[in-house]
Amino acid sequence: MAVFKKPASLAEVTTSYCPGCPHGIIHRIVGECIDELGIEGKTIGIAPVGCAVMAYNFFNCDFIQAPHGRAPAVATGVKRSLPDHVVFSYQGDGDLAAIGTAETVHSATRGENITVIFVNNAIYGMTGGQMAPTSLPGQITQTTPYGRDVKIAGYPIKVCEMLSTLDGVQYAERVSVDCVKNAIQAKKAIKKAFQNQIDGKGFSIVEGVSGGPTSWGLGPVAALQWSRDNMRAYYPLGVYKDRDTEDKTND
């Protein structure tokens, strides 16, 4: 009989995440994938600047804490030094799609053989709830107190859609962990993103449409519902790019 346990690659500590924040679930999924693939000993994680900055304390694999937005460049340096190892970055939307956009796009277009776990919560969580590059039109944040006005603040970035135009990208999928069914799909996607790297296939990104209960000023349940009601339309779930299936259709 299977006993429900904490993945071995997750440390025996309490995380610093807010109650109801999907970071915990996504960490667990990453941990399960690392365990199942048996790669903890040769995995190096790259922590962002953002709520997940202390991910290095929550995983048992080796970790490097990168400057804000630079995780894909740091990951590139590690991967080019240790090509037989597994390197993943774990980043928020400000980190990946604002200050680190260049690093994201160029590691993707180089087809850097790394795995990127992207947690899109449409807000800057760590700094207390400012507008993110992925905040929705009309969304009220600390720095868009009248709602995000696209005439002033522009439009949100759809990361998977944007990256899927790049030839270097092996795999881009957007998932959610708001219910068991979606969490199972998220795990499949994350495992595939790691497997792709092990198979030497190149850049893989999984974007989790997440929620920020504290920064959004909502409770955990209401935050999940807000994510479903508002974010899902702008950020539809699904596979945006998969060279495996593309290659098949081309045959």
């Binding site: 903890e40 694999c61 970790f63 804490q65 990168a66 630079r70 590690v78 080019r80 690093e103 160029h106």
Partner: protein, 356 residues
């Protein structure tokens, strides 16, 4: 002994890094360091190394950071405007105790400035190579041969003290061709000391390694920084390097580094013929600054003259080193103009007048 070969400064820097066991270069194009990156792009693929042209200097320094954190010998090169962009990464590396080599083939600033030689990043390199309380090792070669010698020493020192090192060159040295002798035996990466702290996968054999500069508890952060400053103090005591030229009987001591020191030597030879006793202290390490040699020289010298290709930056360190016990003057040009020996002699003659 190895044969002498004629090499451009920039190419010699690159070959010296390869001879020092460096197999990971990350950079972004900029004049006047161009030949360095070009040399790496040609050579690295042939020896199983990595040359990667990054999307920016910010990305390049962070790739260096990743490689350094993974435990390999890594480097980047750039020139002044690009160095501005690298400061974030240098600060993080200093905060995470990571060794790496950064080469700055300086050009004029501020802003886009110019592309001619300059030494105007002296303060940046020695005073504030990034945000926070930190130092990096700074080496100032004055010949192509010394570029070769210092690259290997800089890498070894960076490893020894677990901190970034910078070679502060300039466009003149980078573009100049001189005969050099390369190390007889190049180091293989496998011969370099193993880094127990590296994030290179624990393989189930140890606790996980974390490479990090974040300490949210003020006391913890202060303790970490203070421990690092104890290391810095040891470096200041043990690692000062300088060359002395005709200082024994000198009434006037010129202090100059890099390309400027070569011009200063010509000036000294002219002045000596005129019967003026001038000598030179040439700092080879800019941080740590060769304070001991300057203190010693201050005992007998009448005055000091700092000659720089900037508006007067090192001159303040000279004053501090000799505790203002003797007059310290400055002469220099900026913007890519190189001081001439005649100008320096004229300045010394003026100082002689004033002192009488």
């Amino acid at each position: 002994m190895s044969d002498k070969v004629l090499m451009k400064g920039n190419e010699a820097l690159a070959q010296a890094a390869i001879c020092a066991g460096c197999r990971h270069f990350f950079g972004y194009p900029i004049t006047p360091q161009t030949e360095l990156a070009a040399y790496m792009s040609k050579t690295m693929p042939k020896i199983g190394g990595t040359y990667l042209q990054a999307e920016s200097e910010i990305a390049a320094i962070n790739m260096v950071q990743g490689a350094a954190a993974a435990g390999v010998r890594a480097m980047t090169s750039s020139s002044s405007p690009g160095i501005s962009l690298k400061l974030e990464g240098i600060s993080y590396m200093a905060g995470a105790d990571l060794p790496a080599l950064i080469i700055n083939v300086q050009r004029g600033g501020p802003g886009l400035g110019g592309i001619q030689p300059s030494q105007s990043d002296y303060d940046l390199a020695t005073k504030a190579p990034g945000h926070g309380d930190l130092h990096i090792l700074v080496f100032a070669p004055s010949s192509v041969q010394e570029m070769v010698d210092l690259v290997s020493h800089a890498f070894d020192s960076a490893d020894k003290y677990r901190m970034p090192a910078m070679i502060l060159a300039d466009g003149l040295l980078g573009q100049m061709m001189e005969p050099v002798v390369l190390p007889e035996k190049a180091k293989e990466p496998s011969e370099l000391p193993k880094k127990e702290w590296a994030a290179c996968g624990h393989e189930g054999e140890r606790k996980h390694n974390i490479v990090n500069s974040l300490y949210l508890q003020p006391q913890e952060l202060e303790d970490v920084v203070k421990a690092r400053y104890e290391r810095y103090a040891k470096i200041e005591a043990d690692e000062q390097m300088c060359e002395k030229y005709m200082t024994e009987d000198a009434d006037f001591v010129i202090v100059a580094f890099g390309a400027c020191s070569r011009i200063a030597k010509s000036a000294i030879n002219i002045a000596r013929k005129k019967g003026i006793k001038v000598g030179l202290i040439r700092p080879i390490t800019l941080w740590p600054f060769p304070v001991d040699a300057l203190k010693e020289a201050a005992k007998n010298a009448k005055a000091f003259l700092s000659v720089e290709m900037n508006m007067g930056q090192m001159v303040n360190d000279v004053k501090l080193a000799i505790e203002c016990k003797k007059p310290v003057e400055f002469f220099g040009h900026t913007g890519g103009i190189i001081p001439t020996p005649a100008e320096i002699v004229a300045k010394i003659e003026k100082m002689q007048e004033e002192i009488k």
